[in-house]
Symmetry: C2
Subunit: 299 residues, 2 copies
């Protein structure tokens, strides 16, 4: 079978490990029975080893239970840049392999239920782990918003980014992020209410800044160029400018200039949200009633 | 002038210092010019000193600039029980005194922008402080939800409840609350998606439990009686069961029994959300364009 899943941008500032938005950049996977394992990849991530260690191979073998598979991956999602490529690949592969619950498979494979949920459900999601199970809900997303992504050429492994986080935080900082997330959820539902403070964060971005010293100036530049709010995309190094749709091209162009001025090799892309999520055989993926864990809500 | 504001329940589990819902229980305040200060109160809080130290007197004098005022307060909101009585009283008094921005006055007087925002805007709100200014947004609230409140007779001063909070928390606990708040916002918008885990919290409820040892068993009892989710109301001691409207009477009755069985003097009340918020002269309060801080969004 053939399945397709969108990239995603997680955290969105205050919503650490919780919020994610699906973006119009996709990974397509085909899984077929064959005499022996083969993995063919084109596009982003084509440099990775195409053996049994490839994430698509591991996911497909886990779902089907053997390795006599021909797997074809075609990806437009940069790897290791904070755009949820692992979650999208795992979700598309799980669906192409016939998994009844691609979200659970992708969340398990990737470790990030919010990226997996965005790739499966599309749109804006909030996710959490309840008793070991990924649980996700859709949240309203204003169709008038676009997302400009600055994608540096150098990857920033999520594990490295995670090690930069402090083990404890001031109680006031935990409360700070809750307040900002409230403003953000309302602002993403209605762009007129999106204020730049809505993406402020005290849980991860500052701690990760030493890993990407130019981030702060690039984010400021996106705001100056007209983005309503800015943040890191996932664990970085990609950076996000949330824009009114009509300004996306302008902000994207400014982003190209900002990268050049900062001496950061990379590119700026303007993306619409993906509101479809996972598709299988060209049709939106539908949960099988019996296979869905009770708390999984999909809007 | 005469103004009226609803009570509110803040935090709602994970949304510490952020979320609040306005409830159908009100404080009415009339402020008139007079020869000298007088404060008359009926209903809840009538035992408080009716001199210049009364919150209504302090707010009205602050707005108008002198003390030649006759102030009449009629309240159905229990004081010191975690139902936002101070914020409601301050909001109604500020509006009755002609303040252009009752939210700012009430947030300043009460110290809790989320309670003040719920009392002014009605419905479900998220609030935060941005550069010293309270900023609030409305969030969707399913009209099919009711709120059963267990109101113990003994008050629990907010200052005491706040001292119980730890100065630092594990980073994972801060992330935990963000995830739960995402689920909660979706569940309050659509009751079918409200799972009991959505009100789980690691930032304040457990730390405050020694102040109200019976809370845990009362909350469990509300769930057993049919509440979809349960939590402390504000800093307590009131406890909240969030129910489908059709079950509210049943859960309320169970709440009375639970209080009696636990030996906690108090009462259980079933309340609908208040979706109107602050009214002045019987009309919903409308912000004057010029007096509103830019980031104040009202849906």
């Amino acid at each position: 079978m053939r399945a397709r899943a969108p990239a995603s941008s997680a955290n969105l500032g205050p919503g650490f490990d919780t919020l994610a938005v699906a973006l119009d950049l996709h990974i397509e996977v085909e899984v077929e029975l064959a005499d022996r394992l083969s993995v063919r990849t084109t596009g982003e991530g084509a440099e990775l080893a195409t053996d049994a260690s490839h994430l698509a191979a591991r996911v497909a073998m886990g779902v089907i239970g053997h390795d006599r598979l021909s797997i074809t991956v075609s990806s437009a999602v940069p790897v290791g840049r904070g755009l949820g490529s692992s979650a999208a690949l795992a979700a598309a592969t799980a669906a192409a392999a016939g998994a009844p619950d691609p979200l659970a498979v992708a969340a398990e494979a990737d470790g990030h239920p919010e990226n997996a949920a965005a790739s499966v459900m599309g749109g804006l999601v909030a996710a959490a782990i309840i008793r070991g199970q990924p649980t996700a809900v859709g949240l309203p997303l204003d169709p008038g918003l676009s997302f400009v992504v600055l994608v540096p050429e150098r990857p920033l492994p999520t594990a490295t980014a995670r090690q930069a986080l402090p083990p404890v935080v001031p109680h006031a900082d935990a409360a700070f992020n809750l307040g900002r997330m409230g403003l953000l959820v309302a602002g993403l539902a209605d762009h007129r209410m999106l204020v730049r403070e809505a993406t402020e964060d005290r849980l991860h971005q500052a701690a990760r800044s030493p890993l990407f010293p130019e981030a702060s100036q690039l984010l400021s530049g996106l705001l100056d160029a007209g983005a309503r709010a800015v943040c890191w995309s996932g664990a970085g190094p990609s950076l996000l400018g949330i824009c009114d749709q009509g300004l996306a091209t302008e902000v994207r162009d400014a982003g190209e200039t900002l990268l050049a001025e900062a001496g950061v090799a990379g590119r700026a892309i303007a993306l619409r949200p993906d509101i479809t999520g996972l598709t299988v055989g060209g049709q939106p993926w539908q949960p099988r009633q019996s296979a869905q864990p009770a708390p999984l809500g999909q809007q």
